[in-house]
């Protein structure tokens, strides 16, 4: 099979690769880029555990070919923490017990990033709606909803701190 060259930006780093055109983005991220935080639960677009953020949108990486990501900017779970600090959404999931086995979590985090970028103060029903495309078999969702609510507050606070800073 003829391979295709692609260039993508993943977690702030430009990556060049030559991949078969049929390689799924999820496999590319996991196995070619060695970023195993993105998980594969169904490979048919239902569970959302493979969600990553592509150009600001949470997308199913099992429903995309790697070649379709040419030129895109991708954030995976590995790109969230800054140095030694968890991202506020990760921190909120930790504090609120928003994960048990953690398998659905990277996908939930991707969905939460997209939601909170678009809607910094979502209602519980809006959170519920946003994550209704992510299956979790462990938590019953309640603490995931609390985690996203708390993450929203953390991000708003961070936002106001940065805007209040003297120029």
């Amino acid at each position: 099979m003829t391979k295709v060259s692609i260039e993508v930006n993943v977690n702030g780093r430009t990556r060049h690769a030559t991949v078969p055109p049929r390689m799924l983005l999820s496999d590319f991220i996991r196995h070619e880029l060695s970023l195993p935080g993105t998980h594969v639960g169904c490979e048919h677009g239902v569970c959302g555990s493979c969600n990553v953020v592509v150009d600001g949108r949470a997308v199913r990486s099992c429903l995309m070919f790697a070649v379709q990501a040419e030129g895109a900017e991708i954030t995976t779970v590995e790109g969230l923490a800054q140095g030694d600090d968890l991202h506020p959404i990760q921190q909120a999931f930790w504090e609120e017990h928003g994960l048990q086995c953690g398998f659905c979590t990277p996908g939930m985090l991707a969905t939460a990033q997209e939601l909170l970028a678009q809607n910094p103060d979502p209602s519980d029903d809006e959170i519920r709606e946003a994550i209704s495309g992510n299956l979790c078999r462990c938590t019953g969702y309640e603490f995931i909803i609390s985690a996203i609510r708390s993450a929203a507050a953390k991000l708003r606070e961070r936002e106001s701190e940065t805007t209040l800073q003297p120029v």
């Binding site: 998980h39 639960g41 930790w94 017990h97 048990q100 953690g102 078999r137 603490f143």
Partner: protein
Amino acid sequence: MSQHLKSNVIPPSRQREMPRAGLTWIGQSMKRVEDPRILSGKGGYIDDVAVPGMAHAAMVSSPHAHARIVSIDTSKAKALPGVIGVYTGDDMATVVDPCPSFASPPITQHPMSIGKVRHVGEVVAAVVAEDRYIAEDAAELVEVEWEILPANVDIEASAAATGDALLHPEDRESNVALDESFSFGDVDQHFADAHTVVKRRLRWQRSSAQAIETCGVVAQFDPFKGGYTIHSNSNFYNFIPFVIGGSLRVSPGELRIIPVLTGGSFGSKVFNHKIIILTAGLARLAGVPVKYIEDRLEHFTNSDSHGSDRLYDAELAVAEDGTFTSLRFTVMDDYGAYLQFGVGTHGNAMAQVTGPYQIQSFGMRVIAVLTNKTQQGPYRGFGSEVTNWVMERMADAAAEEMGRDPVALREQNMIQPDQFPYMIPTGNIYDSGNFQKVLAEAKSMFDFDGWRDKAKAMRAEGRCVGVGLATCMERSVYGPTEWWSLNNKETPGFTLTSTPEGITVRLDPSGKMFVTLNSPMVGNSPETVVAQILAERLTIAPEDIVFNYSDSQSGFNGVGPQGSRFTAMIAGACVSAAIKLEERLKRFGAHMLQRRPEDVELRNGTVAVKGLNDQEKPFGEIALTSSFFRLSFPDGEEFDSGLETTAVYDHPLSTDPAEDRSHLGIFYPIVGHICHIVAVEVDPGTGKVEILDYAAVHDNGTMVNPRTLAGQVWGGTANGIGTTLSEQFIYDADGQFTNPNFAEFAMPTANEMPRNFKLGHVETPSPFTEYGIKGGGEGGRLGAPSALSSAIEDALSDHGVKITSLPVTPPILRGLIRDAEQGATA
């Protein structure tokens, strides 16, 4: 106590740490120790494992439910570039023997079919290739010629099948694998004396856990270097070498099983022995390390973890005043094509089959039927979720037939707080409880009386709104006699009686405490629990503890997280280890302080002189001195260098089944209690059920971490909601499994969960476990189906609809409403 239970003597308690107020760490909702690495994507699940030279496997699966394999042509597949090998069941049989079976006599199961297939999805050949894409391409090129055999789909029809419809003619002359009857106490007498005998036919249909991660294995074989090295997401890695060594034709010591973080189990990854044997066999045949991760379809159709699929004819004997005196039933269970764990799921249900009620006797006939479906395995509740539902359905039915209020009738029959430990007719005990308190708490949290009035008023307006309440048991800390106690007495099989849990604790010269666990993390919180208990017992800070997992060769006894056992069992191991470590710390510390060991105590991570505030040695300094400065201490092996200890905790309270099976002994005695109350509205036009309000109160004894326990209750309740309202495996008449995917097998999303779930806890400590801890991993699924069934029946009371079968998906419920309407007009 009934005569038949006289020989079942309750052993004395081995509790060392009494339940008490004022604990520092136990009872705190501490953030989980496990989370930062998982949240950052560094958890390390099975598909994250890669070993040098690793190849990938893909399976050729049966499209038929029951068929003979006439021939398999692998030539085209073998010719594909990148393919290392293509193997059939006959090839596999050159390196492995059949899977272990707990059924007795066993039913033969090959990890890869030989001669015929018995369910859709059964593996008939496998490709090992350089990558998974190539392996899957090649798998499609394997050509199989089939001779179709009659498919057994219906449980009653299969029990009567003969000839070509027999699944295992070489092992059994019938598709009935086991048919045993039991009587615990004076069942016949109680039924003869009954004022009313309530009868119901109840059906519980199959679904399964479907954790978001499937099962997988990475296996290597080296005949010159110790045999097999296997990474697996099994729950049970320290035990399975002993179970599968025979199948792999090596001694258990030549099998090194390495655990990984597991993406959810709920029972579905308890053993995983078939996939381990299959992948290990492929690695040996291909001569390279092999990775095989099930895809979702394979997990549905071939992972051997389908849940219970039962048909009950149940009878409850009730006295004139409403007292329940006896329960009996005949149960047929559709186990699918094999019987890996015997009827262990029925053994489990014997732990609490009579519920929270003072029922004096119990009788059962259990018939295990084989059909052409994927075989059963564990799913959260392990069979007790079904009997909880049966008991609660029967309690509601009795209330209706006797014209009694269902809650008042339950209260009348409940075991009283002063009756514990309470022995039920099967011989199991309930260690402690206060069911009345749980009920009262749940009712007030839910505003039960208010809701009942409201629902009645809404029904008067023509809306289908109802309230349901269930009071159920949650057994925890299993003993293994459940696996075999219902087997025929003449052929009881592997009569295992141990479920130990071990731990190794080492105080490092740096002052860190290194802990090695012998059971994997599957979404529970093994590290957090241990951190809280060791911190409590040794007065240290939880953040000073570092965790590791053994593998099956470096490790010690461990049975894994299942049967809601881990927290209570590891607490016991922690206490044993802490006692030993304390003794050593005091000996070294006292010497350094120039005191006698009896004059010092543990205080805030130091060994300190009793009654004095300024004379103490931090653990770190003691560990450092004892590790590097041997000559500072006297001669004698009690001062051998270093501070390390290994400890094991055995089941706190169990007895053998009676020889004649007049009782089954004590095997699941650490028992919690739960009350779920729910209000629902049914749309009679579509059959859709909406949850309006939900309250759950759980009593799991002393809580170690209320937040993680709440997470378990929530998650279990979500499973129970799915089991009741949406999850169903649908097989057609040919044995085709028609919905094995996440789109059509409808697990609850966030949208299906109740909006204002209220959760409460009552704490009745166990008198038998350390600190009084009970397990709490299954309760949600043990209670939700009963409460929901009751609520739906109440909502549809004006339509005369009875809930006697689960699930009630919208089309099923709509059908019941239509049938009831037609019945009423006919």
